[in-house]
């Protein structure tokens, strides 16, 4: 066994690898860029080596720097994680040359599977079902149209070197095929420096289902069931689960065996994933093979009990797989939410910055429910613009699918992140979504269910009443405490009104305290609360049903966040509630049609153009003053009519920079 391994990665996956290595008694070496000097993976590892500047191209992607770090620390093997150098043939070869083990597949397998066209050919030869399409490269738009007609619309136009949704277009007719070919080609050229394009059948009601395989250096390959990753936004996975709610044993077996065949065809070892697209009739087609550990590997680990990182390390040493195919049993159901630094309420705008609060749910196994949180951050850490915006992977496991979903809902309610925007509410909303709960998924789920964006999960009346009684209970607690201060008129202590009003959106309830809890609109509701003023979470129960919420205070009550929605609960005296009828509708008060420079300074950059529409929160310009860069953001949704400044301009305070419609 290795004594020391180096992890050529960062963030949660580096921490994940460190965890398994440590459990095996192996020392770990982290590498880090300028931006990651204080990162969690650096803190967790036994040793850490600085490898360069913040951009990945100056650090995590530089093979020589990793090799230097290996030399410096005497690491005997390298785990590449995912992304960065994990599927880089040159890296695997360089390690081989240096006599250092690569904890992953052989360079040949990486190369064979690294190219979409080659891998598809190999798959077809190995008897793997592939999407009907044109294998060769396409010269021009006319040829694209001819081929598209041969395959039959709709077709998918794809960049050979593509990934992450870049350089991909769907065409339903000749015009779209022509246009899609050109834009895919351009995008591919600029994103990957490789503008080769191919065309294949576009699968309807598609689901993304992938097979986890594991092989050793002795020719043994097994499959560890599947994962379904159909909940995607712009081809970025958001929710993953294992097993798939769609597959039957027969299809699973067929997919698994074909995956093994493909792996054996390229002498695969270590962990790998064969991705398929599955249509509504359970026809499955090979998409690609990822020759590395996958982001969503934890769901497989939780249903199979196999530690994939541990297995990868053992395989790299040359050990035989301890498991045979017949030993692989799928147990229960696992669900994963990727917690991203993006704002679902504002078109999933990315968000970066400091995690002023980071309070994940407790990782535990209680009553057959597992909660696991793979993360690479901590409270006070930074989500940097240089890397992937993923904050954490929250994973739950239960005896069946609904149990795993509900456990995920609960865990998300116990997750608090402040300082940056995040998608916890969005993941929470999906866990409540009837179609998701029914398992009726396709990769278009998010586009179909949230065509106009996300505004928080809908609530039924029972949920609203629960929040009303909780808000009232918290307010009572706060009001009672306010009366317990000093300097009160002795003997004239004040008691808050027994009956008060609770408002949520346009609904108004009357509430009063009772022995067991709260009487809401005449109905006695039992409430248990552990909440004290200042607590960041509410933990308690309503009519015996446990409820957790993230709590924020506002001037007239609390904003309670849980089950995918942030709900403003206002608690007022009855007279104040009556008075609300006369209060004017809230306007945002900004008649402002211009962005003015808030301070004397120099314009560093202008982010908008004339005619452009911007959403609230999007950057408009950057002004440097007192040697500091200040990002000026749109206060509401706006359309730019005129840009009156340019980079380098020196501006006085209140000078108009941009005019809006």
């Amino acid at each position: 066994m290795f004594d020391k391994i180096l992890i050529a990665n960062r963030g949660e996956i580096a921490c994940r690898v460190i965890k398994s290595a440590r459990a095996m008694g192996i020392k770990t070496v982290a590498v880090y860029s300028d931006a990651d000097a204080l990162a969690l993976h650096v803190r967790e590892a036994d040793e850490a080596v600085h490898i360069g500047g913040a951009p990945a191209a100056e650090s995590y992607l530089v093979i020589d720097k990793i090799l230097d770090a290996i030399k410096q620390t005497g690491a005997q093997a390298v785990h590449p994680g995912y992304g960065f150098l994990s599927e880089n043939k040159a890296f695997a070869e360089a390690l081989d040359k240096a006599g250092v083990a690569f904890i992953g597949p052989p360079a040949g397998a990486i190369e064979a599977m690294g190219d979409k066209i080659t891998s598809k050919k190999l798959a077809a030869e190995a008897g793997v079902s592939t999407v009907p399409g044109h294998m060769g490269l396409i010269e021009d738009a006319d040829e694209a149209v001819t081929i598209a007609n041969k395959i039959g619309y709709p077709v998918m136009i794809k960049a050979s070197a593509g990934g992450g949704g870049k350089g991909m277009r769907v065409a339903f007719n000749d015009d779209e095929a022509r246009e899609g070919f050109q834009s895919s080609k351009n995008e591919a050229a600029s994103s990957f420096g490789d503008d080769r394009i191919f065309i294949e059948k576009f699968v309807t009601q598609p689901r993304h289902i992938e097979i986890q395989i594991l092989g050793d250096k002795h020719g043994n390959v097994i499959y560890l069931g599947e994962r379904e990753c159909s909940i995607q936004r712009r081809n970025q996975k958001v929710i993953e689960e294992a097993p798939s709610p769609f597959l039957d044993a027969k299809t699973r077996k067929a997919m698994g065996e074909q995956s093994i065949a493909l792996a054996q065809a390229v002498d695969y070892c270590s962990a790998g994933t064969v991705e398929f697209i599955v249509d509504g009739d359970k026809n499955f087609y090979f998409l690609e093979m990822n020759t590395r550990l996958q982001v969503e590997h934890p769901v497989t680990e939780l249903i199979t009990g196999v530690d994939l990182v541990e297995e990868m390390i053992k395989v790299a040493v040359g050990e035989k797989l301890s498991l045979k195919q017949k030993d692989v049993k799928l147990n229960g159901w696992a669900m994963e939410s990727r917690i991203y630094a993006e704002d679902p309420y504002r078109g999933f705008l990315p968000s970066t910055g400091r995690l002023s609060r980071y309070r994940p749910p407790v990782e535990q196994v209680v009553d057959g429910i597992t909660v696991r949180n793979d993360t690479g951050v901590y409270e006070g850490g930074e989500i940097s613009l240089f890397y992937d915006p993923m904050i954490a992977k929250l994973v739950t496991h239960g005896p069946d699918r609904l149990a795993a979903i509900d456990a995920m809902g609960d865990a998300l309610d116990n997750f608090r992140i402040d300082g940056i925007r995040h998608n916890i509410d969005f993941c929470g909303a999906i866990m409540q979504h009837a179609r998701f709960r029914n398992g009726a998924l396709t990769t278009a789920f998010i586009d179909e269910e949230y065509p106009d964006g996300f505004e928080g999960a809908p609530m039924d009346s029972a949920r609203i009443e629960e929040l009303a009684v909780i808000g009232f209970t918290m307010s009572q607690m706060t009001q009672m405490r306010a009366t317990e201060g000093s300097q009160v008129l002795a003997g004239h202590q004040f008691t808050p009104d027994v009956e008060q009003a609770v408002q949520i959106d346009d609904l108004v309830f009357t509430a009063s305290k009772s022995a067991q809890g709260v009487v809401l609109n005449g109905v006695d509701i039992e409430v248990e609360s552990e909440w004290l003023p200042g607590d960041l979470f509410f933990f308690g129960a309503v009519n015996g049903k446990p409820i957790s919420l993230v709590v924020d205070r506002h001037s007239e009550g609390y904003t309670l966040t849980g089950r995918g929605a942030a709900v403003k609960v206002s608690v007022r005296r009855l007279v104040a509630q009556e008075a609300m009828a006369y209060m004017p509708e809230k306007t945002d008060g900004t008649s402002d049609k211009e962005l003015v420079c808030p301070m004397p300074g120099v314009v560093v950059s202008v982010a908008v153009e004339e005619g452009q529409s911007v959403k609230a929160g999007e950057p408009l310009a950057v002004v440097e003053a007192m040697k500091m860069e200040n990002i000026l953001r749109a206060e509401k949704d706006l359309t730019v009519i005129k840009v009156l400044c340019a980079a380098g301009d020196k501006l006085a305070v209140d000078e108009v920079m941009v005019e809006f419609e």
Binding site: R354, G380, G419, G485, G534, S555, E556, Y582, M599, M626
Partner: protein, 508 residues
């Protein structure tokens, strides 16, 4: 007997109707509450006791003798806020437009006198049409009687004004003499002369909102200390502010039970200061992690954002916080920020509210607009305010404390009681590059770079100051709350007197 009791109830009923149903409806139609409704929301239920309900004016001119309404346009009395007493007066717009007559001003004077004698805060709610023109000089005299009492009460009892409608002409000066002014967005405005006169005199066309709305006064003129969306929210938040304030300069700060532990450790503060000294960070995070339960009442939130002022509690007791805000203008001190912080520091000192200062200040803002605007005197106000303050002063330098700004921000030399620094503190005359360019004036670029790094190493840290005792201790950021709590607990018995004087002569 029974008849008399019934008559009393009838007279009360009439008095409470003020200007009558129609006017009340009109008031509601404008999105405003009546004077009595406002007092009902401000005060604890059933705690209001009205004074002078039946007072009427004695004007004999312009037919006013036939036009009398009990109360005469202002509702006065006292009540409690969370059990603590306050005096109140609220202008009743439904009666003579809330205009000020001799009788009206006498009513206000009476509660002003009672509040001062009693050592209890007074809150004024304004929504009025100015002077009762029919009364002529009596109205002018009435204003001055109010002003005189505002001035005498200043620094003895907290005085707060809530502007909830028009407030113009003579009406504006009483608020200006009080400690805090709050406004309601879109329904209140304040100015000395209204848009019509402005047009005649200066030819400027301007609306009431543009001339003196809540936005103008909270962000441009700094006349108002805060603004709210409507009457209900404004009065709710006013109750919250009152909870923080002492009753008078004799009582000390109020105290309430808290569920927050005094030695709460916040490890995330260890990474609050960015590696790059030119990157801003949000000082409000430190404030929220130091105060009890994250509860902070900010004063002048929209004005001179480079310095924060506001009230929080530590171990249940009120503390005034004056943190720099590097998010705006790098936290520099300019004229506006100096005036804002100076006035807040003096309020705290008047009423025995301890002051906690968080310092990250690169200096005073250079430039002609600042110098022409009198930065020297405005900066001196803050210096004066800190220097004269005898309340407990705890100061923590988080990052930059350069030049004169180091001196001003409650330094040891200005009788700071506990002066702490985070390890990230840089206490120096100026930034390294600037300093080296002066000291090594004729050097090459390479030499300057070399000297700069030496200067940084030697001076851009808290240790030079700590070696001289200007900093009492360099503390771990994560322990800041515990350090502040212990310092304030110890200082609760602090006794310090300034030399006797009639009053000081702050550079106004």
């Amino acid at each position: 007997m029974r008849d008399i009791v019934e008559e009393l109830e009838e007279r009360r009923r009439i008095a409470r109707l003020g200007g009558g149903k129609k006017r009340i409806e009109a008031q509601h139609g404008r999105g405003k509450l009546t004077a009595r409704e406002r007092l009902d929301l401000l005060l604890d239920p059933d705690s209001f006791e009205e004074i002078d309900m039946f007072v009427e004016h004695d004007c004999q001119e312009f037919g006013m003798q036939d036009n009398k309404v009990p109360g005469d346009g202002v509702v006065t009395g006292w009540g409690t806020v969370n059990g603590r007493p306050i005096y109140v007066f609220a202008k009743d717009f439904t009666v003579f437009g809330g205009s000020l007559s001799r009788a009206h001003s006498k009513k206000i004077n009476k509660v002003q006198d009672m509040a001062l004698r009693n050592g209890v805060p007074i809150i004024g709610i304004l929504d009025a049409g100015g002077a009762r023109i029919q009364e002529g000089v009596d109205a002018l005299g009435g204003y001055a009687e109010v002003f005189q009492r505002n001035t005498l009460a200043s620094g003895v009892i907290p005085q707060i004004t809530m502007i909830m409608g028009p407030c113009a002409g003579g009406d504006v000066y009483s608020p200006a003499l009080t400690d805090f002014i709050f406004m309601v967005r879109n329904t209140s405005y304040m100015f000395v002369t209204g848009p019509d006169v402005v047009k005649t005199v200066t030819n400027e066309e301007v609306t009431a909102e543009e001339l003196g709305g809540a936005k103008v006064h909270t962000s441009k003129s700094s006349v108002a200390d805060g603004a709210y969306d409507n009457d209900v929210e404004a009065l709710t938040e006013l109750r919250r502010l009152i909870d923080f304030l002492p009753l008078s300069n004799r009582t000390g700060v109020p105290e309430r039970p808290t569920f927050d532990v005094r030695d709460r450790v916040e490890h995330s503060l260890d990474t609050l200061i960015p590696d790059n000294p030119n990157m801003p960070y949000d000082m409000m995070e430190l404030v929220e992690k130091v105060v009890d339960e994250g509860d902070f009442f900010e004063i002048q939130k929209d004005f001179a954002k480079n310095v924060i002022t506001g009230f929080g509690r530590v171990e249940g007791k009120t503390v005034g916080f004056v943190p720099s805000q590097p998010m705006t203008l790098a936290g520099v001190l300019d004229s506006d920020a100096s005036r804002k912080a100076a006035r807040f520091v003096r309020f705290c000192d008047c009423f025995d509210v301890p002051i906690v200062t968080f310092v990250d200040v690169p200096g005073f803002l250079p430039g002609t607009s600042q110098e022409y605007g009198g930065l020297i005197k405005h900066g001196a106000k803050l210096l004066f305010a800190y220097a004269e303050a005898t309340v407990p002063k705890v100061t923590i330098i988080t990052r930059k404390a350069y030049g004169g700004a180091y001196d001003v921000m409650a330094s040891k030399h200005l009788r700071g009681d506990f002066n702490y620094a985070w390890p990230t503190a840089e206490i120096a005359v100026m930034g390294a590059k600037g300093a080296v360019e002066i000291i090594f004036r004729n050097s090459t670029e390479e030499e300057i770079a070399e000297q700069t790094s030496q200067y940084e190493e030697r001076f851009l840290n808290p240790f030079v100051a700590a070696e001289r005792g200007y900093i009492d201790e360099v503390i771990q950021p994560h322990n800041t709350r515990r350090r502040v709590a212990r310092a304030l607990a110890l200082l609760s018995s602090k006794k310090l007197d300034n030399p006797w004087k009639k009053h000081d002569n702050i550079p106004l």
